[in-house]
């Protein structure tokens, strides 16, 4: 029950602002100390007053004695004078007459007590009587004519009596004064004792007050600050904070902030730990990559599932082992150290090569070692990622073999083609050569022989062009011949073609028109093949234009392609035949065109050629006749036709 109010009081105290607490802690003992000082002052002033009283009492005593002594001496002197009549005996009397008033006056001032004053007033009366008596005695003795021994005797007697009265009055004054003094003394003693007690009590209270102040200071500030300091230390170490009661002064608020900071920090730390944990779990569960960490010296410090799967060791077996045991014997002595050194120097080191599994088998691995450094750049260890590339190596090997085989097959095919070409041409050479010789000397033969010779030569030539086209197509399709793509300026190319084809067109008895585009540019093409394509198209146009009168060569510039256009005003191609236009050996309308020589391979070959240089060949039905478009890519370099080349071509 008593604890509750104490607690609430303490609570009230701790809730006050620090300035208030400081004021209280300093002012409280100071006030008590001041009051002690004040009581000490009161005690000492009372003592001083008492001393004054004593001094005064002594002065009164002394003065009353003096009064008595002066009067006694004066009386003795007067008596002597009366007896001797010598003036020198009057000296004490005269001194008393001069000193007494002053002494009495001093006493009058000094005496304060009423009772004493009553006695003093009586003393004054008896002193006055005594003086009167003395003065009358002196007067009697001094008068030479009236010598009355009896009156003198009486006067002396009276004097003695009055002196006794004075003595008694003095004694009375002294006695009462002594009583007053004693009373005073007691009073002063009491006061002094009281004040001393008060001082002692004040001192004790002051002491207690300062102890209380210190206690309050320590509970209100020091203890709490030290607890706060302790909490700050815990915060720095990342430990849980000690719970502090909620208080609303500055320290309380600081504590509250500290708690909030700690909570925030803890939440953040929790997040980080959770994410680290997630990351660790992810890494641990990665199956396709062996991910593990090494310390600075290369000793394994962590191990994931992928590492176990790839290398065979479980985590228990491999932790704290040096990672060089993953390397085969021939590289074990130097490669691990080299890898670590490279990773240390360059941040990471990558390598591809043989590694060893737990069971001693080898696998082809891709390895990346990364140096792990802390914020200060101090090396903490290494992370190592290992991939089992055996499968990929196998497939790469298979791919390489397949590619080599394909290349070899292609080479074989090319060889076969060139060999076939050679083997077919060689006998044809003799056939055609002798045929030509026979033709030259035809006048030696009869007409039906001449005709036979002509047929042989014609069939031989046809066979030759068949072989040529066929081999061309095959070699293009086999990729056996190289394509040499270069920028070809359109205008010059057209002029060259015109010059080449003009005799063919002319021999067919047709007009040959050339349209060179006003804007020049270059195309990316194999010049020889492009020439072959266009010449073939012109040849066809000349050959099949049996009804028209002209062949036109031109070009159309499109966004990123250029179309070389060959058109004629002949009969054209029947729409039904168009789909088969580019099929080998499909000579359209063979029966009608028997008169026209051809292998049926020309357009197929041209299309292959066009496609081999990333171009195309299309047929469009023109208003009249046929129109073929040979498209090739435009060169980004733009027109690059030097003037002299153009000049030569037209010359």
């Amino acid at each position: 029950m008593t604890e509750e109010p104490l607690k609430s009081n303490l609570r009230f105290w701790t809730d006050r602002p620090l300035a208030f607490k400081g004021l209280v802690v300093i002012a409280l003992p100071l006030a008590i100390l001041l009051s002690a000082l004040f009581s000490l002052y009161l005690a000492s002033s009372a003592e001083a007053e008492a001393e004054d009283d004593v001094r005064r009492a002594f002065a009164i005593q002394r003065d009353t004695y003096q009064v008595h002594a002066l009067l006694a001496e004066a009386a003795a002197g007067v008596r002597g004078f009366v007896l001797t009549r010598e003036e020198r005996f009057l000296e004490p009397y005269k001194r008393a007459e001069t000193d007494l008033p002053a002494t009495m006056n001093r006493l009058d001032i000094a005496i304060e007590d009423e009772v004493v004053r009553g006695h003093f007033e009586y003393l004054q009366e008896v002193v006055a009587t005594k003086r009167d008596g003395l003065s009358s005695t002196v007067a009697l003795a001094g008068a030479p004519n009236t010598i009355s021994e009896i009156s003198l005797e009486n006067a002396l007697l009276d004097n003695r009596q009055s002196l006794d009265a004075v003595r008694m009055a003095v004694e009375e004054v002294q006695r009462t004064e002594a009583i007053v003094l004693e009373r005073r003394q007691i009073l002063v003693d009491n006061v002094r004792t009281g004040f001393l007690g008060l001082t002692a009590v004040s001192a004790v209270i002051g002491l207690l007050g300062s102890i209380a102040g210190v206690y309050l200071f320590s509970t209100g500030i020091v203890r709490r600050v030290s607890r706060l300091e302790e909490n700050a230390g815990k915060l720095a170490r990342g430990e849980r904070l000690r719970e502090l009661p909620e208080e609303s002064d500055e320290i309380g608020r600081l504590a509250k902030r500290l708690t909030r900071a700690s909570a925030l920090l803890r939440a953040r730390e929790e997040d980080l730990r959770a994410s680290e944990e997630r990351f660790r779990l992810v890494i641990e569960r990665v199956r396709d990559y062996g991910i593990f960490t090494l310390d600075k010296d290369g000793v394994v410090t962590s191990w994931n599932l992928g590492a176990k799967r790839i290398k065979g060791w479980s985590a228990d077996e491999i932790l704290n082992q040096h990672f060089s045991r993953f390397y085969p014997e021939e590289t074990r002595d130097f490669l691990p150290a080299q890898m670590l050194e490279r990773a240390r120097a360059e941040g990471a080191a990558e390598d591809e090569g043989w590694r060893v599994r737990k069971d001693g088998t080898r696998f082809w691995a891709n390895v990346v070692i990364t140096a792990l450094r802390d914020e200060e750049g101090e090396l903490q260890g290494f992370a190592k990622v290992t991939r089992d590339m055996s499968e990929r190596r196998r497939s790469e090997e298979a791919l390489r073999l397949a590619r080599e085989e394909a290349v070899a097959a292609n080479r074989a095919k090319t060889q076969f083609l060139s060999r076939t070409s050679h083997e077919l041409r060689t006998p044809l050479n003799a056939i055609l050569g002798f045929g030509q010789l026979l033709e030259i000397s035809e006048e030696e033969f009869e007409s039906h022989h001449r005709e036979a010779i002509g047929q042989i030569a014609k069939a031989g030539r046809h066979l030759l062009s068949l072989i040529n086209d066929l081999l061309d197509i095959s070699s293009i399709e086999a990729g056996a011949t190289d394509v040499e793509i270069e920028p070809v300026p359109v205008a010059v190319f057209l002029q060259d073609l015109y010059a080449l084809a003009a005799p063919i067109v002319a021999s067919a008895g047709l007009r040959f028109d050339l349209d060179i585009p006003t804007e020049d540019c270059s195309v990316l093409a194999d010049r020889r093949r492009a020439t072959q394509v266009v010449l073939n198209l012109i040849g066809n146009a000349a050959k099949y234009n049996t009804s028209g009168c002209s062949v036109r060569l031109g070009a159309a510039l499109w966004d990123d392609t250029v179309a070389f256009i060959v058109e004629d005003d002949g009969p054209g191609i029947a729409p039904a035949d168009v789909p088969r236009l580019f099929t080998a050996f499909d000579r359209l309308g063979q029966q009608d065109r028997a008169k026209i020589e051809g292998t049926g391979l020309g357009l197929a070959l041209s299309k292959s050629l066009a496609e081999s240089m990333d171009g195309g060949l299309t047929y469009e039905a023109a208003n009249k006749g046929a129109r073929f478009c040979f498209t090739v890519r435009k060169s980004a370099a733009g027109a690059g036709a030097p003037n002299n080349a153009a000049g030569e071509a037209t010359a």
């Binding site: 060139s418 070409s421 050679h422 083997e423 077919l424 041409r425 060689t426 006998p427 044809l428 050479n429 003799a430 056939i431 055609l432 050569g433 002798f434 030509q436 010789l437 030259i440 031989g460 030759l464 011949t481």
Partner: protein
Amino acid sequence: MTKRLVDSDEILSCRILAIDDEEANIALLRNVLEREGYSQIECLTDPREALATYMEFEPDIVLLDLMMPEVDGFQLLESFGRHDAADEFRPILVLTADTTVQARRRALALGAKDFVSKPFDVIEVGLRISNLLETRILYSRLKP
């Protein structure tokens, strides 16, 4: 006939060496050459004898096939080149059924003076031979 700087008799008296493993082609060449009027014709179907014949016969022109068994035309071109003096102009006309650009380039680079694809035009071959011989005669006239 063609306008010439050299007397045709001088041309026709030149020695011609034809090397081809194919009998029919050799026969054709001999026929063409004889028809032209050449008198000194040496024909070979075995290329292994070529170098010996070349050195012995000292032809003014060689008609050479490229694709032959044992020793091919390229090897012979090299051998002839090594044998000849540096200032000798002894034309070699390659006649081959190998129509590839590579073969053409290689043959010309090895010293062949001309290249004709088989099957050839007999008249053209005759003209090329006489042209080359004319050049050789003119060249030898210039030599001190």
